[in-house]
């Protein structure tokens, strides 16, 4: 029976993109923001990035060894988590704290829930929020040699004027990867072109946020204020790279729009009425928690179902 051919269920061909390739696209898309972060904050930014990525990779290897699971680091998702986490940390953060953040993201937010695809919360953001509570002072210390003042949004809150051009380019204080709206947008455009993300989540996030800020931000239709709000506080990074995380956002098309709106409203709420000027991280992880419910409410209608109903009515 040596001449038996292979048998499997159709289809017998596959598209090229694999999980690791998609992750690689995300890493490439994060490079402009990462490089700008290193340029803006100096070589220490690179150290933070290296610390979180290696901590993420090592945690995943160790975890899989301990629970006797297949090693999964070649899917590159741990690298994405590590990089995203680093971009959400202040450059001054002690490296061991950054490393703890990476380990928390991988072990507590991802692996304990079953690994890639099973976590209900964005690992990088989960870890960031953990660090914000655990090391509150270090996590909010944005004073470096170059930038001695508060972050632009905090400054604006105190009534100071901000330079929106600096914010677009990224010449401000803040976390490593959040400052340059332009660098983030370059990465976002790359992801859209490569088909990694589409505009449903980022657009509904940004639009609903702008609407909220115009209505309740207290500045009305002040272009300067809105631009600053959009460029500051990690909103761009959040909208394009964190809210779009596949695992923790709805899979249904209508659900994605509702999810984006939740993120936008919550961010606006936290920024306007909350205790600090940011709020993107909390807005996204809280919206993450709503995903199962959103999906249940947005089961798409199958092809032909609407028309069928209409037709029946029309016929009677």
């Amino acid at each position: 029976m040596s001449d038996l051919y292979h048998v499997s269920s159709s289809p017998h061909v596959r598209a090229k993109d694999t999980t690791s390739r998609i992750m690689l696209y995300v890493i490439i898309a994060l490079l402009p923001a990462s490089l700008f972060g290193i340029y803006n904050f100096g070589i220490r930014a690179l150290l933070v990035i290296v610390a979180t990525i290696s901590s993420c990779l090592i945690s995943e290897i160790l975890y899989n060894m301990i629970v006797h699971k297949k090693q999964t680091i070649d899917d590159l998702s741990a690298v994405v988590t590590g990089l995203l986490l680093a971009l959400n940390l202040p450059v001054t953060l002690p490296l061991w704290e950054a490393a703890i953040g990476g380990a928390f993201a991988i072990i507590f937010v991802k692996c304990l829930f079953g690994g890639l695809g099973q976590n209900f919360m964005n690992p990088a953001l989960g870890a960031r929020c953990f660090l914000l509570i655990a090391f509150a002072a270090d996590m909010t210390n944005f004073v470096t040699d170059t930038y001695t003042g508060a972050t632009p949004l905090a400054a604006m809150r105190n009534g100071e004027a901000v330079n929106t051009m600096d914010m677009l380019i990224g010449r401000t204080g803040g976390t490593i990867g959040e400052t340059s709206a332009i660098a983030i947008l370059i990465g976002a455009i790359f992801m859209i072109l490569m088909g990694v993300i589409d505009l449903k989540i980022p657009a509904s996030y940004i639009i609903s946020f702008v609407v909220f800020m115009v209505l309740f931000g207290g500045h009305g239709l002040d272009g300067n204020f809105i631009t600053a709000q959009l460029c500051g506080g990690g909103l761009m990074l959040g909208a394009f790279f964190m809210a779009t995380d596949y695992v923790t956002s709805p899979i249904t098309p209508r659900g994605q729009i509702i999810f984006g709106i939740c993120c936008g409203i919550l961010t606006g709420l936290f920024r306007t009425f909350g205790a600090n000027a940011e709020g993107v991280s909390f807005a996204i992880i809280l919206s993450n928690l709503l995903v199962p419910m959103i999906e249940k409410l947005t089961i798409p209608r199958a092809f032909g179902q609407v028309k069928a109903a209409k037709k029946e009515e029309g016929g009677k």
Binding site: S10, A15, L116, I251, E295, I299, R301, G304, A308
Partner: protein, 439 residues
């Protein structure tokens, strides 16, 4: 005006250049011919010959087993050797008539119809039924049943499925180039049955030569037009095709006739022409024998019942040992253990691939990327459906419209985690439908 299409779909590697320029060549069978009695949807045909009987080419050897059934004809002359279960392409054992080929090809005589327009509707349907015409695109649904809808006056479109959206397949393409008159004649015969219908030849725009040729041919036919479709898989899926042409959407509980449509593929319409005009039953058809393992890929007019082994020989044999052979196209075809399988009325292609890129793939975790949702032509959520299927959650599966799946395989094709989504969904669909039938 751009080409028409549907929402979703994928763009697999086309592979059509392998065989597309090879004219149709006739292959005469050398060895035994095997005629499975279930080559169609519905009741199996009943043999009307016995072991030892002499048969001629074109002689009826099995009678339709009911209304939804179809007769089977001998495609070569010889002696009935056995009536026994034989393995068919989908893997089942099916009772079959085996005819030992005497190589003489003595043929019964056929009655050509000089004036088709003088035939009544009933006569046409009877001729189609008697000739054993079934949906030759793959489904094998008896054509006379399709042509007898409850309210024929409500049929507005007869759509010729000339999409041929499965990669590698070029049989319909060659038919359109080489036998366009027969296609149009078949279409005219079908239109004769439906007074309020117009005929549409729906062709994917990767076949501009066919579009041009047929447009020219039907320019004086007031009831027939050509419609260009975007090249996208599964453009030739019945529901997708109807939507592209008419913007009417039907679901699994409806028939094309509910949208005022009847869809038949190229080979079927040509079979209608042969049956009604020439009085010839279905004994042969065109198939593409192709793939990177085949020495001379091409399109062959073969006698139904011929073994795939002979068709591979006709195409020059293997230039390299294939790892996988598929009856049908790469998206929906059936992989077969071996070549010693009889061809049937629905065998449109044999694809021989040197590399089986699928079996060895290790599925990884679903990352919820939503690509399957984006490509699903039925607007379903395949990743969720397959999860419900794996957990045996039939009710949830139904609630998420799992029964609407057309099994096109686009979700598995696109999945970056290499999950066998379509396989899980297909299996669950069968289970849910079986449970429903029990109730």
């Amino acid at each position: 005006m751009g080409s028409k299409t549907f929402k979703g779909g994928v763009h697999p590697y086309e592979g059509k250049e392998l065989a597309k320029d090879q004219p149709i060549t006739e292959v005469l069978p050398k060895g035994d011919l095997v005629y499975p009695l279930s080559q169609h949807i519905g009741a199996p045909a009943t043999p009307i010959v016995a072991v030892g009987d002499k048969v001629q080419k074109g002689q009826k050897i099995a009678e339709a087993g009911g209304f939804v059934s179809s007769p089977v004809y001998a495609s070569a002359s010889g002696t009935v050797k056995a009536i026994e279960p034989r393995r068919v392409a989908v893997g089942d054992m099916v009772n079959s008539i085996v005819v030992e080929n005497d190589g003489a090809f003595t043929e019964v005589s056929y009655t050509v119809c000089d004036d088709v327009t003088a035939l009544s509707k009933e006569e046409i349907i009877e001729k189609v039924k008697e000739a054993g015409v079934v949906g030759m695109g793959g489904a094998g649904f008896p054509t006379h049943v399709k042509l007898s809808p409850k309210e024929p006056e409500k049929i507005e479109y007869i759509i010729a499925n000339c999409a041929e959206c499965e990669p590698y397949l070029t049989a319909d393409y060659r038919r359109m180039l080489e036998n366009p008159e027969e296609l149009v004649s078949g279409m005219k015969i079908i239109l004769q049955l439906f007074d309020h219908a117009q005929g549409v030849l729906a062709i994917e725009d990767n076949k501009p030569d066919c579009i041009e040729k047929l447009t020219e041919l039907v320019k004086d036919e007031p009831r027939i037009s050509v419609c260009a479709l975007q090249t996208k898989y599964p453009q030739g899926g019945e529901r997708q095709l109807i939507y592209a042409v008419t913007k009417r959407a039907i679901n699994s509980k409806m028939l094309p006739a509910d949208a005022g449509c009847i869809v038949d593929n190229v080979e079927t319409i040509i079979a209608v022409h042969n049956a009604v005009k020439l009085g010839k039953p279905v004994t042969n058809r065109v198939a593409t024998i192709t793939g990177d393992a085949i020495e001379n890929p091409g399109n062959f007019l073969y006698s139904i019942g011929t073994s795939y082994t002979e068709l591979v020989e006709a195409a020059g044999g293997f230039k390299e040992q294939p790892e996988k052979i598929i009856s049908g196209g790469p998206m929906m075809g059936f992989a077969m253990f071996g070549l010693d399988i009889p061809t049937t009325k629905t065998s449109s292609s044999l694809l021989c691939l040197t590399k089986d890129e699928v079996s060895a793939m290790e599925p990884t975790a679903c990352i919820n990327c939503g690509r399957c949702v984006e490509v699903c032509p039925e607007l379903l959520v395949p990743s969720r459906l397959s999860k419900f299927a794996d957990r045996g959650l039939g009710e949830t599966f139904e609630k998420w419209n799992g029964l609407e799946c057309i099994e096109c395989g686009s979700c598995s094709f696109i999945c970056p985690a290499r999950k066998q989504l379509a396989q899980s969904i297909k299996t669950m669909k069968k289970q849910v439908l079986a449970a429903k039938r029990k109730k």
